[in-house]
Amino acid sequence: MRPLVPIPGPRRVLLGISFFVLFFAAWAAATFSGLVSPTFLADPVTMLMDGFTLITRFGFLGDIGITIWRVLGGFILAAIVAVPLGIAMGAYKPVEAFFEPFVSFARYLPASAFVPLLILWAGVGEVQKLLVIFIGSVFQIILMIAVTVGATRRDLVEAAVTLGAKPSGVVRRVLIPAAAPGIAEILRLVLGWAWTYVIVAELIGSSSGIGHMIIESQTLMATGQMIFGIIVIGMIGLVSDFLFKAINRVMFPWSLA
């Protein structure tokens, strides 16, 4: 192995898959051998069977759908607010000076700690779930985008102004396109975090969703179901990440080439 030397595609995929195989093998060994009691950790087969029961008998697909909807809803709302504000902050220093201290502070407010308060304000309905994700994502996106836009190469801005670009043209035709791949990458990252917030929101005061199923399974000591729920979240995260990357590749061919 030499540092930074790339490896061929098929081998990379193979290596990636082999860790999953190892992981499941270790899990199976620990549970089937009786080393770990089934009260604490179900074995992989039980997990799959529990998952099958969940989907066929308890409408778990509906829960999955609702959770995805909540994540996307809250995340898209956050992006609608945060992307323009982050760009404005990155581009215009007075705007940054006005918002940056508050946003930096708000970023450290733990979204999960808002859950009880949001239940008081918005009840236990969908609005509350969306708000948890919104609060958890919006400040992160704003700050990261502001930094990315603010770090645009100065020489590109100088080239644009010597070509006659006016201030609005610099923002529209230089800062935004230069930052676009970075912005897409930030959204991909924060969407991953949004998945942890939605589960927290569903653990308390919810009657549907993957999080709700997990907390119900706890009262039944059904570790197989709980693990299945957790794995489903991981899978959805993996798929959305994959989709995001694919879309970025199509949208920004110039940044890879």
């Binding site: 190469r153 020489d155 590109l156 100088e158 080239a159 644009a160 102004v161 010597t162 070509l163 006659g164 670009a165 006016k166 043209g169 035709r173 230089v174 396109p177 230069a178 676009a180 920004f252 061919p253 110039w254 940044s255 080439a257």
Partner: protein, 262 residues
Amino acid sequence: MSKLVVEQVSRIFPGVAGGEPTRALEPTDLLVGDADFVTILGPSGCGKSTLLRIVGGLETPTTGRVLLDGRPVTGPGAERGMVFQSYTLFPWLTVADNIAFGLVEKGMPANERRSIVEEWIGQVGLKGFAHHYPKMLSGGMQQRTAIARALANEPKILLLDEPFGALDNQTRALMQELLLSVWEIHKKTVLFVTHDIEEAIFMGNRVAVMTARPGRIKSVTPVDLPHPRHYTMKTSPEFSALKAHLVEEIRAESIKVAEQVA
């Protein structure tokens, strides 16, 4: 009346973190006529880029002023096109869209833009590369695009800051001939910064030599070589005589720099 007037222009950069301020440019005068090609030659750090950036409006002079067609320069604008040493093509735009950048800003309709872009792509020898992104081009091709991008905008004056500095010798020689041939057709007013003596002579109608840091223009040497210029001219006796003269002028400055450092 001169096209470009540089009048007692100087630049002092404020010290960083309470340090000494940097005198980047001593008060300097320069007159450039219409369709003139002036090369600015000087040792590293003497303030060549600073002077050019002041003319471009990217830097404000501490004293003095710059006039273009009698009007003072107050900031950057389309009338003063610039080509930088670093590659500054917009990486998200193709060669054609890079060249069209300034035309779009002017609000020119797409069909007019297309014919101008096509014309320039031909002139800088990039036929077949119109739809390539900058990352797919060599350094020389990127600088050719940058020159086309600046000229397509029809600036009153073209400012170039060591545009071929990062290129290998062969490419550099080809680019010099290319830029000269474009100049011979369009007769733009050009200010061209370099630290290469041969380049300064070969390209310029006049060579302005700067003193060591903090610099100012200490002499302007006319170059009476005929146009069109061919690279074989670099071995002619006239060229060698000019070179010998400028080597002396620059040597004095380079020795000063060496002594400053010692």
